[in-house]
């Protein structure tokens, strides 16, 4: 029987779905709350060869991934993928370098450079995001220079070091929604629209999920983006623009519990199937 180590912190509905899907496939899931572990290479005993990293804390998840890889465990997603996807700036760099359509962006470290960057990418309104973060937290749509100065000063005074690196992205006018595609092993298995009257469409912020047909264009750009960041189990936030689809961000520990019902696809099942495939190919 294949055993998959599930590296976690708190267990969300998503992890419960993965556990249920594994049971249906007669796969043993070993739950490992990494907050309870001593990650010492010299003493750690491990009875599985494949681990699925599902920590809600990105920092803890990355350390766990590095540790388990160092003792020879195949971790999904691997540390190469997570190092790219955890950081919005690094993701954008990789996508642009791989010629995957993505909104224009720049990184700056002070207000003067921010003004120059905003001119370069098309002016106001613009979007400022923390490079590390999720669920639409601390995103700012900045409409003018007064707001820019106020936001950057607040971040500078109140923020952690991550908040003092200003990732600036061209504001994309969306049709009241964006797309979240679920891409496993390079294949777009399903997608949802996230509808919201607010410019932030994350379901964590109230965006409503409905099924989005997987078109050839969506499938192609998702595959290209997946290849660029190293593949595995990913979800992508996609903008519909006049110039076609653009990849906004990529998630490497994707949440999906609200997407199985509208799409009719067992995303948890495909995740477990992918883990089985990886385990059998070791």
């Amino acid at each position: 029987m294949v055993t998959v180590g599930l590296l976690h912190t708190t267990i969300r509905g998503d992890e419960k779905l993965i556990i249920e899907a594994a049971k249906k496939r007669n796969i043993k899931i070993k739950l490992i709350d990494i907050r309870e572990e001593v990650l010492n290479r010299k003493t750690y005993q491990c009875d599985f060869k494949v681990a699925l990293e599902r920590c809600v804390s990105t920092v803890k998840g990355n350390h766990a991934t590095r540790f388990f890889e160092s003792i020879g465990i195949k971790v999904i997603n691997n540390s190469f993928v997570s190092a790219i996807c955890e950081d919005k700036f690094v993701t954008s760099l990789i996508l642009q370098k791989a010629h995957v359509s993505t909104p224009d962006f720049a990184m700056v470290f002070n207000a003067d450079q921010a003004q120059k960057a905003i001119k370069q990418i098309g002016g106001f309104p613009t979007v400022i995001k923390p490079p590390l973060g999720s669920w639409g937290r601390l995103l700012a749509k900045v409409n003018d220079i007064d707001a820019l100065e106020a936001i950057l000063e607040h971040k500078d005074v109140l923020g952690s070091p991550h908040q003092k690196s200003f990732y600036i992205q061209k504001y994309i006018k969306k049709p009241g929604r964006d797309i979240r595609s679920f891409v496993i092993d390079g294949v777009t298995i399903c997608a949802i629209y996230r509808d919201s009257p607010h410019w932030i469409t994350n379901t964590a912020r109230g965006g409503v999920a409905t099924n989005c047909p997987v078109t050839k264009e969506l499938s192609n750009i998702s595959k290209k983006a997946s290849d660029a960041v190293g593949g595995g189990i990913l979800s992508m936030d996609v903008f519909e623009t006049e110039d076609g689809l653009q990849i906004n961000e990529i998630n490497h520990t994707t949440e999906f519990k609200n997407s199985e019902r509208p799409t009719g696809v067992s995303i948890s099942g495909v995740i477990v199937d992918y883990c089985i495939k990886v385990a059998k190919n070791l």
Binding site: T10, I11, L31, T58, L132, G133, W135, R137, N251, H252
Partner: protein
């Protein structure tokens, strides 16, 4: 089924058999987010779930 109580409002909470340690749930009465801190047989201890931190997410 596992019966336990909300540590905040003391409401009785019934957990299903497939509950896991570290699982996040909501109290049906006061709606606070709770985490299953300990689970042994039919005994479970709940604690207030940790607050969202800067690096949490997908």
């Amino acid at each position: 089924m596992i019966k336990t109580n909300c540590p905040i409002c003391d409401a009785q909470i019934t957990l299903p058999k497939n509950t896991e340690e570290s699982e996040v749930i909501s109290c049906p009465d006061c709606h606070i987010r709770l985490v299953v801190a300990n689970l042994k047989g039919n005994t479970a201890t709940l604690e207030e779930a940790p607050k969202v931190e800067e690096d949490w997410g997908e």
